[in-house]
């Protein structure tokens, strides 16, 4: 068997650069999409709790109480939204951070809460769940 002590051939850097370029190429369209109307949808147990049209300069913070006593505090800052605080143990929704584009969502499974940004159309369709 060949000795594999020699490390890092020129091609390795080429591979890394290629991967970075590809990542940038895929990411680029998401940043240049013209921003249309943006809506915030808050659903609990799949029931629409609130629907807010987002616009620059709008600032609001509100809390959604869950069935089992849990709560999530949602913060709207202009055209971006986040779950600022939650009492659930995993804090996945808080860690998701700011949502800025249509299609993005933050989910709190313990409180059965879904915060989602949508474009013009009312979204009744189920969003993708990838595992």
């Amino acid at each position: 068997m060949k000795d594999r002590l020699r490390t890092f051939r020129p091609g390795d850097f080429a591979v890394c650069v290629l991967v970075l370029l590809l990542a940038a190429a895929v990411a680029a369209p998401f940043f240049f999409v013209p921003q249309g109307a943006l809506y915030l949808e808050v659903r609990q147990d799949q029931q629409l709790v609130r629907r807010v049209r987002l616009a620059d300069g709008v600032q609001e913070t509100f809390t959604v109480e869950g069935r089992a006593g849990g709560h999530n505090t949602i913060e709207i800052d202009g055209r971006r939204v986040r779950i600022r605080e939650a009492d659930c143990h995993d804090q996945v929704c808080v860690r998701t951070g700011w949502l800025t584009r249509a299609g993005q969502s933050a989910v709190c499974l313990p409180n059965r809460l879904v915060v989602k940004l949508t474009g013009q159309k009312a979204s009744g369709d189920v969003d993708a769940i990838v595992r």
Binding site: M1, R9, G11, V15, G103, A128
Partner: protein, 170 residues
């Protein structure tokens, strides 16, 4: 000899299975909140099998690992994602391995494999879910495939350099 090779395939399949179960315990998506993000430990076995065994054997190990991992913990969709990603990674790494030593080291090949795995996975997700939304996850997945690929490349190189001393493939 034939029996020994079959036994080795079984051995590496079980090793890959254990690795894919172990990486399930690492909550990587707490650091990078992207679904489908993985350490890619099981990819070490694919790369190792490609370098030390035949391509057919590497493919068989991959197929068995993906199938069994989905049966143990997963779903039909996760099976499809892993299958697409796994075989795209295997194909890319097999291609680059022909130029190993001169153009590429195991590090670059491993990074390319990790990136290919993520691309295949996202493509499968787009096909299954019928939406291009999941493409938004690809840039982050590709970025993470560089450190993860370097890590698996390092593991694979270390293993190969040690296994050289005990020639199990004789």
């Amino acid at each position: 000899m034939r029996i020994k090779r079959i036994a080795l395939c079984g051995l590496f399949t079980s090793l890959a299975l254990i690795l894919s179960l172990v990486e399930r315990m690492v909550p990587l998506n707490l650091v990078v909140p992207v679904p489908g993000i993985k350490l890619g430990l099981a990819n070490v076995v694919t790369l190792f099998a490609l370098t030390a065994m035949r391509k057919r054997e590497a493919s068989a190990i991959l197929l068995c690992r993906v199938t069994l991992a989905s049966i143990f913990a997963g779903s039909v969709t996760s099976f499809l994602f892993s299958l697409f990603g796994g075989f795209l990674a295997l194909g890319v790494m097999a291609l680059l391995l022909r130029r190993e030593g001169r153009w590429f080291s195991l590090f670059g090949i491993s990074v390319a494999g990790a990136a290919a795995h993520n691309i295949g996975q996202v493509c499968a997700a787009m096909l299954v879910l019928g939406t291009a939304d999941v493409l938004g996850y690809l840039p982050l997945l590709l970025l993470t495939s560089i450190p993860m690929g370097l890590l698996t490349g390092l593991v694979c190189r270390t293993v190969l350099n040690h296994l050289k001393k005990i020639d199990i493939f004789a």
